[in-house]
């Protein structure tokens, strides 16, 4: 037999399930965020802060990706919101199937906002659509301002970048101008929040952004339901 023309996306299976996740959550008016960063950038601390600020006004839950431990999930649980732990057993990213399974463990009727904390890695999670409404990349100033150039794909695909640990800026050689120049050369539509979980700088702005995105997405869904 000769050559067969197939033309199939290599990640077709992941994309199909991502679409299912997206539709499932859209039907229920749930806004999904996918938080990505390298290990130790402060994702879990930021999440704790966001939960603290948002849980009274938004029904929210968290999906925690972690290679082996349940430490982060325990920290989130202590904040009093539902959390589903995914242990990837060494795999370097979450995929849409894992999220699809995790969604079955949540009471979706009780939710408006769902945040995924991806596995700490700036490379692999960039490739896998989970069905999120937006990707948020967290970078801390101690990691250095060269990271957008070194890992451009994730900054290209994100809607928001959080520059965290701003309280430590003075102690590093992080060059803010170079950082913004590089970032905007990669993606000129990025929204950036400069934050610190210690001084609480930027946290109110970030939580306002999240709640406004949830509100806008729910208003859109409400409009659709009325038309249906």
């Amino acid at each position: 037999m000769g050559e067969i023309k197939v033309v199939v996306k290599m990640l077709e299976a992941n994309e199909e399930l991502a679409l299912k996740n997206r539709e499932l959550l859209k039907e229920r008016g749930i806004y999904l965020l996918n938080m990505i960063s390298s290990p130790g950038s402060g994702k879990t601390s930021l999440l704790e802060q966001m939960i603290h600020r948002l849980k009274a006004k938004l029904k929210m839950a968290v999906i925690e990706g972690d290679l082996y431990t349940t430490r982060d999930a325990a920290r989130i649980e202590a904040q009093g919101v539902p959390v589903v732990q995914i242990n990837t057993q060494g795999a370097c990213h979450l995929d849409s199937r894992m999220i699809h399974e995790a969604l079955k463990q949540l009471d979706l009727a009780q939710l408006e906002l769902l945040i995924i904390e991806n596995v700490g890695n700036l490379v692999c999670p960039a490739e896998f659509d989970l069905g999120e409404d937006a990707k948020i990349t967290v970078l801390s100033v101690t990691e250095g301002n060269d990271k957008p150039l070194k890992y451009p794909l994730i900054f290209e695909k994100s809607e928001v970048v959080i520059l965290n640990k701003m309280d430590l800026l003075y102690y590093t050689n992080f060059d803010l101008k170079e950082f913004y120049d590089d970032l905007h050369a990669i993606n000129n539509q990025l929204i950036v929040f400069e934050t610190s979980c210690r001084s609480e700088a930027g946290l109110a702005e970030l939580s306002d952004w999240i709640s406004s995105k949830v509100r806008i997405s729910r208003e859109g869904d409400f409009g659709k339901k009325v038309v249906d």
């Binding site: 037999m1 067969i4 197939v6 290599m10 077709e12 995929d95 794909l153 990669i186």
Partner: protein, 113 residues
Amino acid sequence: MHETSIVAEVIKIVLAKAREYKISKVNAITAKVGELTGVSPEALSFAFEVFSKGTIAAEAEFKLNTVKASAKCETCEVIFAINHVNKKCPVCHRFCNNILTGYELLIETIEGE
């Protein structure tokens, strides 16, 4: 190493297509990898060698063709080469988000007997 996960999917797709077309031995697979995908062709080839062992695609040649990244300016309609950090139209110098090529991760053809 997201390439290993990607290759695992490639092999699933190839084996399913082989069954569909009643191929008992896959000789060649051609694929397209866009420049912007962040996927290393070398790592894909290596992962393919490992993951295809023991399957009917074990001896297949995995041919990867790189696709150059390009964009089309919404204002001047010029098509030009881009990379991650340079997406400005060479004519009007506006930042361009209308990316045409560079994100491909496609299996194109399968050849077998």
